[in-house]
């Protein structure tokens, strides 16, 4: 029986001779740039065929399509085997030691486009983007003393979103990727295992992916994002910045008092995601009205909402605030380089927003100093040095027990502020907003994250309980401050 012709083959037959030849030679040229296994190469070629078909159905001529899909943009990434491997940075070392089958430190960064995503082009964009991030094109391996990242050159795949955000990433198979790219309607999300990078490094990847996708879809001219994507990766991007910028300061302890937790039955993973999509200007105005920064202002609202979501009468409510260490040390690393401090408030002192803001501002100024953050870095370095020669077979169960016992009980909530995302002006025509979702709760009932782009600030709440008190109180507090916002999110996942 004759083999059924594929859609691409039928399309080729419909073309005039010269066009057909051009496309055939283009498809053959892919072999030169990829030394992947048979199955992977077939899938890669299939990606190009799907993209070419999409271009054809959208009236893009063959020459333009071939120019934009040039496999030379792989830059030799798939043309040679990689010998690279990367030791984990000081902050990342704890994540694989403490992970379980149902718990993994995963966070999500999303880009919301103004139009629905074209998966055919997103896949090609990922194929082109991954080469610039060799540190991300890796798989997690287990050494005798520490885990490490081993280069893994294969076709990285996109998936349609169909699971709860920040679900554990399956790492056990040979070559498993440590991040995943998802799409749903007009949203592209990248979920990273924290072992790979932090919010800043992850955002660098998402920006490149989004820019490459838009270049392919809107046939944009080459710009600084394209230049970055086609530049050589540098050593500093995968360095352990904790080691490079280790200061001679006395280490600070990680231990603190246990914090009061919000009430509500804990769910197995996130139970709901809520995005407060705010107008950046009105948020800034509201914060300035209280003489506060956006972080201090939102922290105050979080303390008020958190107070409503607990039945405890005494104790402290604490919010963990991650700090990007690149702010103090000019590192180009795409690995983890952030520390954190805690803002703590006695439950009975949480009543008036202005006095709360004043105290939060004071705590941020005192605790978030360069010296204090360097002391935290020194603590992480001290832990790594101490555990260095202990074989994994001993280290892993101990870390699991400590993490299982302590987990996130030192704080009640988190506020991670990624700040404003910078992209060339041209992209604002196509990108609506960005989102940042945390997915690391163990006993915390909520984790919050903030990111701004193009005049839109998205405050995302990841809930670990069906109890809606926290988000509903946040909603009413934001309304009371006259901030213009809309609420998006998910249904409650049972």
């Amino acid at each position: 029986m004759a083999k059924k012709k594929s859609e691409f083959e039928i399309y080729l037959l419909s073309l005039p001779g010269k066009e057909k030849e051009k496309l055939e030679s283009f498809m053959a040229s892919i072999d030169t740039y990829c030394i992947l296994g048979k199955k992977e190469l077939k899938a890669m070629k299939n990606d190009f065929q799907n993209a070419l078909l999409w271009y054809a159905s959208n009236g893009v001529d063959t020459d333009t399509a071939i120019r934009y899909l040039n496999p030379a943009d792989f830059g030799g990434f798939f043309a040679r085997k990689s010998l690279l491997w990367f030791p984990l940075d000081d902050a990342a070392k704890v994540y694989p030691l403490s992970m379980k089958s149902n718990f993994m430190a995963v966070f999500r960064l999303s880009c919301i486009f103004k139009e629905d995503v074209v998966p055919q082009l997103l896949q090609i964009a990922l194929n082109f983007t991954v080469k610039r991030f060799p540190h991300f094109a890796t798989t997690l391996k287990k050494g005798v003393f520490w885990h490490y990242l081993n280069a893994s050159k294969h076709r990285y795949t996109i998936e349609e979103e169909n699971s709860v955000p920040c679900s554990p990433i399956r790492l056990e198979r040979t070559g498993s990727q440590t991040f995943r790219v998802l799409y749903w309607k007009n949203r592209v999300s990248v979920e990273f295992f924290h072992v790979l990078t932090d919010g800043t490094g992850g955002m660098r990847f998402l920006k490149s992916l989004a820019a490459e996708y838009l270049r392919l879809k809107e046939l944009l001219e080459d710009d600084e994002e394209y230049e970055f994507l086609n530049s050589f990766p540098v050593k500093e991007e995968s360095e352990n910045a904790f080691e490079c910028y280790l200061q001679k300061v006395p280490p600070a302890g990680f231990m603190d008092r246990l914090a009061v937790q919000m009430n509500g039955k804990l769910s197995n993973g996130p139970s709901r995601i809520i995005h407060f999509r705010m107008d950046t200007k009105s948020l800034l105005d509201a914060a300035h009205k209280h003489n506060a920064t956006v972080t201090a202002f939102l922290l105050a609202l979080m303390f008020m909402a958190g107070r409503s979501a607990t039945d405890s009468m005494n104790g402290e409510h604490a919010v963990q605030v991650p700090v990007n260490m690149r702010k103090y040390h000019p590192s180009r690393t795409l690995s983890n380089f952030s520390m954190y401090f805690m803002v703590r408030e006695e439950l009975d002192s949480i009543s008036d927003i202005d006095s709360l803001i004043e105290d939060i501002g004071r705590q941020i100024r005192e605790k978030g100093t360069e010296e204090n953050m360097d002391r935290m870095v020194a603590s992480a370095a001290r832990f790594v040095r101490m555990a260095r020669y202990v074989p994994m077979v001993i280290k892993q169960p101990v870390a699991k027990q400590i993490y299982g016992f302590l987990g996130d009980k030192l704080f009640s909530n988190t506020l991670s502020n990624l700040g404003t995302v910078q992209l060339p002006e041209v992209y604002s025509k196509y990108i609506d907003s960005m989102q940042f979702v945390l997915g690391t709760g163990i006993t915390n009932r909520a984790a919050c994250a903030l990111v701004s782009y193009n005049g839109v600030t998205v405050f995302s709440v990841t809930k670990y309980t069906a109890d809606p008190t926290f988000e509903e109180r946040m909603n009413s507090l934001l309304k009371a401050e006259n901030i213009s916002f809309t609420v998006e999110g998910s249904a409650v996942w049972k």
């Binding site: 287990k142 050494g143 005798v144 955000p165 790492l171 198979r173 040979t174 609420v487 998910s490």
Partner: protein, 193 residues
């Protein structure tokens, strides 16, 4: 509060397997504890050691999920090590005299299977030889000690000699098949950074 749904309908991962694992965990723990108590009351032979080790091995092999590096070589090496452990416990507590003959055969068999897997898929398995390498080093060292020990029977000496040889052959095959990759792999696996 009105929330515009911007997420697809999703199915949460079933907790049935977690619950089943938890139940089995308790069955194993109760069984092991009961066997120790009964054995303490009845006195030697210490068969409870076999029950406890057997439960721990079953748990480790089949119920504790491997989160990193679940591959064929690793699986066979773990089976060999666990079988050797259970056999040595049985040999020591219940029926002495044959463990020294059987254990080298078990570890040798594990190495032989690993060698076949490596040779059949060099590219796929080149980063997975680490557990087999560790087992081969332990096998060579253990077998040589047993080989040169006084009062070792001829058949035990023969089997441990073959086992040590299998370990050595595995190392030589791994070096010749993987070349420089073998030494790179060693460097990565033992890194302290």
């Amino acid at each position: 509060m009105e929330v515009k749904n911007v997420y697809p309908p999703v199915k949460r991962r079933s907790r049935a397997s977690d619950i089943a694992t938890c139940i089995i965990k308790w069955v194993f723990a109760t069984g092991s504890t009961a066997s120790v108590i009964v054995n303490l009351l009845t006195g030697s032979p210490w068969w409870c050691a076999t029950v406890v080790t057997g439960c721990a091995v079953l748990w480790y092999l089949f119920l504790s999920p491997r989160l990193v590096e679940r591959n064929a070589i690793g699986f066979f090496i773990r089976i060999s090590c666990c079988a050797a452990l259970v056999l040595s416990v049985i040999g020591y507590t219940l029926s002495p005299g044959w463990a020294g003959f059987v254990i080298p055969m078990v570890s040798g068999a594990g190495l032989l299977i690993s060698m076949i897997l490596l040779l059949s898929d060099k590219e796929g398995q080149k980063n997975n030889v680490h557990p087999a390498l560790l087992l081969s080093l332990v096998t060579v060292a253990g077998s040589l000690v047993y080989f040169f020990r006084e009062n070792t029977m001829f058949r035990d000496r023969l089997v441990s000699g073959i086992s040590a040889l299998t370990g050595l052959v595995f190392i030589i095959v791994a070096i010749s098949v993987l070349g420089m990759d073998f030494f790179r792999e060693l460097r990565r696996r033992f890194h302290l950074k």
